[in-house]
Subunit: 200 residues, 2 copies
């Protein structure tokens, strides 16, 4: 019965592996994913998987990456507040695809290089998106001309990430708080060159 199957190559095989991984992921959680299980589910064998991935984290990350679908798009909603909220909501929605447990698991098992490859990738995208938003806000007159440090630019995304990992689920309220209590006030202050008044 297994014999009857015609042999698959790169594309079809990869797709089978990805969907098998995703199915295992939602059926058994991150902890329940194994090379053996995925091989079984994808009707292939362990060596095939080991040729592609060095460990579970890589395998899962690759599968997840396929679902990331569309890019986060820089919105133009008319205010800095609305734009940032829109970005955070988009990111939040993308991450809602899986339980936090999954992301924690991946992070927990990733080696350093894998981890910061992933982070650099999203970091670069986010940096660009936020750049556009801030530029627009500046043109609109919402902000002063002061340059903002990278850390500040990416701050809301770091907070969102923190919340996604440690909080249970991120709702609209949380996002609004990040924007209203932290980001907008901070960015306004800094861009007007106040805020570091005394030292340095």
């Amino acid at each position: 019965m297994t014999k009857a199957r015609t042999r698959r190559r790169a594309d079809a095989l990869m797709e089978a592996i990805h969907t098998a991984t995703l199915l295992e992921l939602s059926d058994r959680g991150y902890t329940g994913v194994s090379f053996e299980g995925v091989a079984r589910r994808a009707q292939t064998s362990k060596p095939v998987l080991y040729r592609r991935y060095r460990n579970r984290a890589e395998m899962v990350l690759d599968a997840i990456g396929q679902t990331a679908a569309q890019q986060v798009v820089a919105p133009h909603k008319g205010s800095l507040r609305a734009d940032v909220m829109s970005v955070l909501e988009q990111v939040n929605q993308q991450f809602s695809r899986f339980d936090a447990e999954v992301y924690r698991g991946v992070i927990g098992e990733s080696d350093d290089s894998l981890l910061d490859d992933a982070l650099n990738a999203v970091g670069a995208l986010n940096s660009q998106t936020m750049g556009v938003i801030l530029e627009t806000a500046r043109a609109r007159g919402e902000l002063g001309q002061g340059q903002l440090p990278e850390r500040v630019v990416l701050l809301p995304l770091a907070l969102l990430r923190h919340e996604l990992l440690f909080g249970h689920s991120v709702d609209a309220r949380t996002i609004a708080d990040i924007v209203d209590q932290v980001y907008v006030p901070l960015v306004r202050t800094l861009s007007r060159g106040e805020g570091s008044g005394d030292r340095l």
Copy 2:
């Protein structure tokens, strides 16, 4: 030879388990810790461990908890900036005890309840510490009278955590940036009731 050993009870046994866990942790990393390995190292048996811990994360977390030694102490260095930096440095130092990989691993395998028990515990402490610092700063005249949301109060610790997990190691520069680029400006602005100018 194993026979010669006299039987240990609660205290001595727990200590043996803790040190065995810590040794395994530094020898083999979080991934390398196993019930079997710890049992071997502590000269005890798996059932003894399974009576105490439901999973590896619990075991490791318990062992780590024993090393947390002294509390973070609210400093009085004469400026908000210096006080916050001192707290962050203390926390950073405590976490430097183990590689980031260890914390990522624990987080990755913790179930939700374990995780937010742990976070609530440190959250409460941190909240109190930061409260003292901010109060002092206010008395000193560095801040206005406005109340700060919990999220803002704990912000630098969230950022530090984020950095500890995703960055490679946290140096003095990073800490200074968190304080100078983010926390102090933000807290000043908010406490003076500026910053939310237009909406809400």
